[in-house]
C-alpha cells in the first residue's frame, strides 16, 4: 500500500512532465542546492546554455520571492524559513517553472495588478520596463519585488500565467507559471 501510494504520487508527477518539485520550507541554502542540482542535470543532458540560464534565473527569482514574501514563515534566531512550492518540468519540448505560496489577501490586488501589467507587455516593452526599474533608486520594500517579476517575465517565451485561490483567514494561494 505504501509503495502503491507513493508510486501513484510519483506517476502523477511524471505524467505532468515534472523533473523535480520541492514543497515545504525554503531557505537560501535549499535554493542554492536545488538550483545547483538543476543546472547540473540540464548540463548533463546537453541543454542549450542560454536555456539553462533562463530556467535558472526564473527559478532563483521565484524561489527568492517565496523566501521574502510567503505569508507562511517560521523563524528562529538566525534562520528564517518560508513555506512554498517550486516545480520544474517540461511540456511540449519546453521547460516550465511553477511556484506557489500563500500570500495575504491584502497583497493580492497589488500583485495581480503587477502581473497583469507584465502579462500584457511585449518583449521590447518588458525590456524597457526592466531598464526603467533598474534606474530607479531603491525605495520602499515592496518595490523590490517589481524588478524580480520583470526579470521573470523577460525570460519567458510566452505570457506568464498566474492564479489566486482564496483560503481561510485572510490568505490566498498564489501560483505563477512561466514557460521558457
Amino acid at each position: 500500500m505504501l509503495a502503491q501510494t507513493y508510486r501513484s504520487f510519483k506517476r502523477d508527477l511524471d505524467a505532468k512532465g515534472i523533473i523535480f518539485s520541492f514543497s515545504g520550507y525554503m531557505s537560501e541554502g535549499i535554493l542554492y542546492s536545488l538550483g545547483d542540482a538543476m543546472r547540473q542535470k540540464m548540463a548533463l543532458e546537453d541543454t542549450d546554455l542560454n536555456t539553462i540560464k533562463k530556467v535558472f534565473s526564473v527559478f532563483i527569482e521565484q524561489a527568492q520571492n517565496i523566501i521574502r514574501y510567503s505569508a507562511e514563515k517560521v523563524s528562529a534566531s538566525s534562520v528564517e524559513l518560508s513555506s512554498g512550492m517550486v516545480t520544474i518540468g517540461t511540456e511540449q519540448g519546453r521547460f516550465f517553472i511553477v511556484c506557489a505560496n500563500v500570500v495575504l489577501d491584502d497583497d493580492v490586488a497589488r500583485l495581480r495588478q503587477r502581473l497583469e501589467l507584465l502579462r500584457g507587455m511585449g518583449r521590447d516593452e518588458i525590456k524597457a520596463y526592466y531598464k526603467e526599474q533598474l534606474r530607479e533608486a531603491p525605495d520602499e520594500k515592496s518595490r523590490g519585488a517589481t524588478i524580480g517579476l520583470i526579470e521573470i517575465a523577460r525570460r519567458a517565451s510566452e505570457p506568464i500565467e498566474f492564479d489566486f485561490d482564496a483560503i481561510d483567514g485572510g490568505k490566498s494561494f498564489f501560483v505563477l507559471k512561466v514557460c521558457i
Binding site: 537560501e28 542554492y32 542560454n50 527568492q64 533598474l134 524580480g148 526579470e151
Partner: protein
C-alpha cells in the same frame, strides 16, 4: 586607500578593488540573500575612492556568469557612480567580460552601456579558458 578583497561564496562574487593600482574587478555569480549587505560596503568604498580628486585612472572588470535582479540593480547603481566620476574628468574604463555564447550577459552589457557616455565601455566576449 587600502585594497578591498572579498572571496567568492556559493552565491556571491569575488571582489578585488585594488585602489592604489586603479584596478577593480567583480567576478563570478551574484544572488545573495541580502544584496544590500554585499553591495553596501562596496558602494561606500567606491564612493570614497571616486571622491579623491585628481584620482588615478580606473579599469573595472566585470566578469559575471549570473546575477539576480537585486544584484542587477546594485550593478546599475555602480555604473551610475562610475559615469558621474567619468563625467567629472576621471578616466574610467569598464570591461564587461562574458562567454561568447552567453546571450543574457551580452544583453545585460549592452543595456548597461546605453546609459554610459563618459565611461569607456568594452564588451569583451572571451572563451572560459581565455583561449
Amino acid at each position: 586607500m587600502e585594497r578591498l578583497t572579498i572571496p567568492a561564496t556559493e552565491r556571491s562574487p569575488e571582489v578585488d578593488f585594488d585602489f592604489a593600482g586603479g584596478r577593480l574587478s567583480i567576478r563570478g555569480e551574484s544572488y545573495p540573500e541580502d544584496a544590500a549587505a554585499l553591495f553596501g560596503p562596496l558602494f561606500a568604498a567606491l564612493d570614497r575612492f571616486l571622491a579623491a580628486s585628481p584620482g588615478p585612472a580606473i579599469r573595472f572588470d566585470f566578469e559575471l556568469i549570473y546575477f539576480n535582479s537585486s544584484s542587477a540593480k546594485a550593478l546599475m547603481n555602480m555604473f551610475q557612480m562610475l559615469e558621474k566620476a567619468a563625467e567629472g574628468g576621471r578616466a574610467v574604463t569598464v570591461n564587461w567580460i562574458f562567454a561568447p555564447e552567453d546571450e543574457t550577459m551580452r544583453e545585460f552589457g549592452e543595456d548597461f552601456s546605453e546609459d554610459l557616455s563618459h565611461v569607456r565601455f568594452h564588451l569583451v566576449a572571451t572563451p572560459p579558458d581565455g583561449g
